[in-house]
Symmetry: D3
Subunit: 142 residues, 6 copies
Amino acid sequence: MIHITRRETFNAAHRLFKPEWDDQKNLEVFGKCSNPRWHGHNYVLYVTIKGEVDPATGFLVNLKDLSRIINEFVIEKLDHKNINVEVDFMVGKIASTENLAIGIWEQLEKPVKVLGAELHCVRVDETEKNSVQFYGKNNLKN
Amino acid sequence: MIHITRRETFNAAHRLFKPEWDDQKNLEVFGKCSNPRWHGHNYVLYVTIKGEVDPATGFLVNLKDLSRIINEFVIEKLDHKNINVEVDFMVGKIASTENLAIGIWEQLEKPVKVLGAELHCVRVDETEKNSVQFYGKNNLKN
Amino acid sequence: MIHITRRETFNAAHRLFKPEWDDQKNLEVFGKCSNPRWHGHNYVLYVTIKGEVDPATGFLVNLKDLSRIINEFVIEKLDHKNINVEVDFMVGKIASTENLAIGIWEQLEKPVKVLGAELHCVRVDETEKNSVQFYGKNNLKN
Amino acid sequence: MIHITRRETFNAAHRLFKPEWDDQKNLEVFGKCSNPRWHGHNYVLYVTIKGEVDPATGFLVNLKDLSRIINEFVIEKLDHKNINVEVDFMVGKIASTENLAIGIWEQLEKPVKVLGAELHCVRVDETEKNSVQFYGKNNLKN
Amino acid sequence: MIHITRRETFNAAHRLFKPEWDDQKNLEVFGKCSNPRWHGHNYVLYVTIKGEVDPATGFLVNLKDLSRIINEFVIEKLDHKNINVEVDFMVGKIASTENLAIGIWEQLEKPVKVLGAELHCVRVDETEKNSVQFYGKNNLKN
Amino acid sequence: MIHITRRETFNAAHRLFKPEWDDQKNLEVFGKCSNPRWHGHNYVLYVTIKGEVDPATGFLVNLKDLSRIINEFVIEKLDHKNINVEVDFMVGKIASTENLAIGIWEQLEKPVKVLGAELHCVRVDETEKNSVQFYGKNNLKN
């Protein structure tokens, strides 16, 4: 078994807030990340998949195919968008990096299987200092 | 004469658009950067100043002072903000990286002089691929 | 379960040596890292914690809290210090990156629990080429 | 148990192709990576080993020894070489990053054991966007 | 006047040699870079242009246009190619980073003018340690 | 004329202080950088030289020669050393990054001339946030 990691980037706006709280309460919990007029990030996404090397090609999967599904199911939905308002798989959720990583996992799990591999890790870097890694729903239950 | 460069970062939302144009026209000129619901970036700022080394300290200026004025005049105004709506020195301008670099220069030119040095360059990286450098108003006239 | 990684930095002096050996023996074993007049590094620290996402906030823990305990229990003790002489949890140990990573783990294990999460990995980069990862004392016994 | 990672680099030429296919078929499967006149990369190699810290030195292994065997068994064979034609452990294989990571593992597994540690992971970055991680033959069978 | 820098990458094979010298002489002068079976690099290209900001757009030039001409006149010719054999503007020259930077300048000088800006600097990083900057032919004569 | 930049690194200890001041006064001026027990950094050095390309080789200078003189005149003197105590060209000076860059310039100016090029810039990064650039003594007088 081998692991492959593909790096992609997207730029998006978001804010951290709960709609049932007022601005003051959101500010107390989420700090400046709750700014009602939004802020944004250059997110960096690392998608790691795993599986067997195909002896015919020397590939786990063709990286063009991996890049294509990441772009179709994740980047096109997030890049230059407002995560809270415009991203179908994030609407109604708090736009934390944790929820974003879980949401991206849910987008990619099946398409990666169709490629003949298994999704291993979704890592999302929000800033140079903060990063989230999600290893899948089964781990959530353990 | 010696040059010193200080690196700082800020995360902000913006969009590129002209209010006198409709969304369609803005989309044609500015592409996905014109998204009316905003997007955002992890901006990286490099401020370069120049001057003589003070023999008493071995410093051009004390970097704590340089960091303090960059934070007071630039970062606090931009970090976790909406550049188009909330940043006093950008309101009414197109929120391009070019205008942002020029605006940051105007914020820092005098405070750097008060420190006893001269502002040499303001560099703003919007993404890993795009960067603007501004060397001051006198150069604009040349 | 989700993982979060926080990156922090500190600058410190150290040397590698055993006090019971003379300088010549220390030089043979530890090379130039044994220089009795010290050298130093810009250390980069990555602290990874794990646990469940709190549905009320979308957070594993508030990153401000994580940053606060890393600064209180680790960075303030190490930054701009001499590791061999001034750092309480390193005195009497060889100041190797291995021992440093284990020492930082011991500093952080309980405070991370108080935050409601579990310490997963302490990674310390001494240079661009050398890095140590420690996954905890239980692994030491296995 | 502790993990140590050493980073090394090498520059090499390669192409992706199967000798039993003609250029057109190779182009369909491998794209521009099949260019018969070669292309190349600045490969980045991360070798992670694991084991117990030696209380006498504070080291898992002396990093000079680790660096020495990586250079002797891997870098000298690959650096400024043509992977398809000149690298003994890659001749007859497709020069994919997957096969390269597996080949490097096979080169290093025994020498790392001689040092008194265990090889944990070979990571090879072909570009800024593409990376392969190999955790060993036992994992291949699982 | 403002400066804008665009970063692009390409992967290519090359060797350093003079055809009128034999392999031994080439090895003496160019070292392992003269390997007759080629090696390669992940080149990083930084193109800096300068000019006035257009008040109608806040842009020096539209970065999509700048990226387009860099790709058309440089990247498509170099990426996944053999610099010595396949790149029209390098054939017959020694494939040094110096000559590559000058060659890229000659490719871009006119197209940048058509965009309404002036080419200021072509920087080519061959490895993490080696970089060339070329500021134009007029400087060559000074 | 073309410019070439070589990147090298060194790890060293230092402190900022004036021997004629007591610890309290040094603390007021230099902050935690004045710690009498030292601290240290992974310094990054960028040496830029300029001159004409030699048509016989395509080189400004052979980079092996440039690397050799940087190592002989700078790195061997600084790496794994205490800058205040052990580095001949820094003893008696305040060990600021400004003075370090000027001192390195003085070490390299003549050897670069012997290679047939001219020293253009010495850049020293002390941390990820702080960098000094020195363009030579003539500029100091202007």
